[in-house]
Amino acid sequence: MSTTISNPTQAPQSPRSSAVTKQMLKKSSAARRARSTRIKLWLGTILTLVVVVPIALANLLPIADPNMQDLGARRLAPLVDGHLFGTDQLGRDLLSRVLFGGQTSLMIGVLAVVVSGAIGVILGSIAGFYGKWADVIISRVLEAQMSLPLLMMLLLVVALFGPSIPVITGVIAIAQWPEVARLTRSLVLVEREKPYVDAAKTLGLPKLRILAQHVIPNVFKQASLVILLLLAQAVLLESALSFLGAGPQRPFSTWGRLISDGQDYITTSWWMVTLPGLFIVVLVVGVNLLGDALRDGNLRRSSKKEGK
């Protein structure tokens, strides 16, 4: 019989000396799961920092100006003439373009998550807490939006309002709020049945105050766990929009644009597509791993608390 599928919560915890050795405890599935989570957490942190730190320090690093053209040094391979990542079709330093482009991509991602998180938490908690018509309206809008062809609608809206950074941020935020709202709604639905809410009502607190001061803070921590996963999605969405030409326009060179520019040269200059793409992958893998690990950890803690 395989031990991998035995119930993890039965790991012995008694302080008395027992026949269970430390070795065996280490092998128990609970311990192994904790180890997986820990590894994911570390790996995620390292990968995220590998990308974020150079981007944050781009202005301080001794790298060339991202827009400085040198037609004599067009499409240099990586590591040639001090260009770590090589140069692009106009002789601009690719590393510098990736780092400065990353500032734009990351900023859009973070802003979009903040906006979608705020909209999602507010509308989701209103739907969950007040119920009735508020719930009906918000849930319908949610459903309708989730059945729309997402990328196409985003392209349309960008075409409508122009590809400026606020518009792209807003578009990504609008694409993402349903996820937060759904999660918050389901959390609030559970929360509002708890005794403390009744107690607050009995004390005569207004509903809005109960919601804002007591319910939302209680669900916020759990709801915020999706933030990292949303950030990963936002970065991917922005790069897809940029790739299709609906991203921030010049002078901003976001990652998707770098890749779409480099696409014309894949036969001769592999690095122009490969390296910016790797930056995206490393960042998004890192953020996703972090989000995954935090969620795993939280699930375990909450199932322990409830005594399962």
Binding site: R32, I39, M152, L156, A232, I259
Partner: protein
């Protein structure tokens, strides 16, 4: 069942109607003049006015909308500006390509993801599983356009195994399918794993085991049987979403499907074509979703349609 089906169909049609209406409004609010992009940069104002009249764009918005609603019922959505053919026909010509790509991708995804997810569930929290787990996270973290270009560079440019673009031979299907499937495999295998682990930990499985049911039957019949429905739903929903065009991948591979069509239609402000594409893909997505719901009772006899409408 008798009330369920009409209700579901009604809801679906309402969604489709709202979608096309929103799109109708949005494209008309957008800057950019279809007449200008049709008549070319050298057109005079008189020519532009003539083109607008020909397309019916000189009429008030409300009147255009009423005409559009009428068109919805006849199924004739006007001539595509850039193709000079009925817009519905243009979309229908492209649809088989998107259907082919979506079908092959979802099949590949299911074939890989289900065994992979089961393996991950059985080996849960071993080092090997952790490795695969990280790989699946990587799979869902790669931008699909980048994966596509990488595959193109590798297997079409460096090692010329497959054609780089278009769909002239069956070999042209390989790279786009893999590109689309990678993300799906990553997402679905993780879901299979989650469902299987939940079932492995469920009390009924311990009871079955204590009664001497073999591990193989436990895994394949009990756990997989119960994990089947959510997984099937996920696969179906992903398939329905792909029918809206696998936009980015189609653009990368020059795939003559609906996704690359919509990008071109948006660029040329081809109103009838945009509307026809949205209408047809939205209808298809709704139909697929309905078929999935109808298939529930076949997979799980406990499900009664209408009562489990929340699913």
């Amino acid at each position: 069942m008798l009330t369920y089906l009409p209700k579901r169909i009604g809801q679906g049609l309402l969604t489709v109607f709202l979608t096309v209406s929103v799109v109708f409004l949005l494209i008309r609010m957008a800057p950019g003049d279809p007449a200008a992009s049709f008549a070319g940069p050298l057109a005079t104002n008189e020519q532009l006015a003539a083109v607008r009249e020909q397309f019916g764009l000189d009429k008030p918005l409300l009147q255009q909308y009423v005409i559009f609603i009428g068109q919805l019922f006849t199924g004739h959505l006007g001539q595509s500006y850039s193709f000079q053919a009925p817009a519905v026909q243009v979309v229908m010509d492209r649809l088989p390509y998107t259907l082919t790509l979506a079908t092959s991708s979802i099949l590949l995804a299911a074939l890989v993801a289900i065994p992979l997810g089961m393996w991950m569930a059985r080996r849960s929290d071993t080092d090997a599983e952790l490795g695969v787990n990280v790989l699946t996270i990587a799979g869902q973290s790669m931008p699909d356009f980048w994966t596509g270009i990488m595959l193109l560079t590798g297997f079409s440019v460096l090692i010329p195994l497959f054609p780089a673009s278009g769909f002239t031979t069956w070999g042209g299907l390989v790279l786009p399918t893999i590109t689309v499937a990678i993300l799906q495999i990553a997402l679905v295998s993780r879901m299979v794993k989650r469902e299987m682990v939940t079932n492995f930990n469920a009390p009924y499985l311990n009871i079955a085991r204590s009664r001497g049911v073999s591990e193989r039957v436990l895994t394949w019949k009990y756990a997989l049987g119960n994990a089947g429905i959510p997984v099937f739903t996920a696969l179906g929903t992903r398939f329905a979403a792909m029918l809206n065009g696998v936009v980015v991948v189609e653009v990368v591979f020059g795939w003559p499907g609906v996704g690359s069509l919509i990008v071109r239609a948006l660029e040329t402000r081809d109103y009838p074509l945009i509307q026809a594409t949205v209408l047809i893909t939205a209808l298809l997505a709704v139909v697929v979703q309905l078929l999935i719901d109808l298939a529930y009772p076949l997979l799980d006899p406990r499900v009664r349609l209408g009562k489990a409408a929340s699913a």
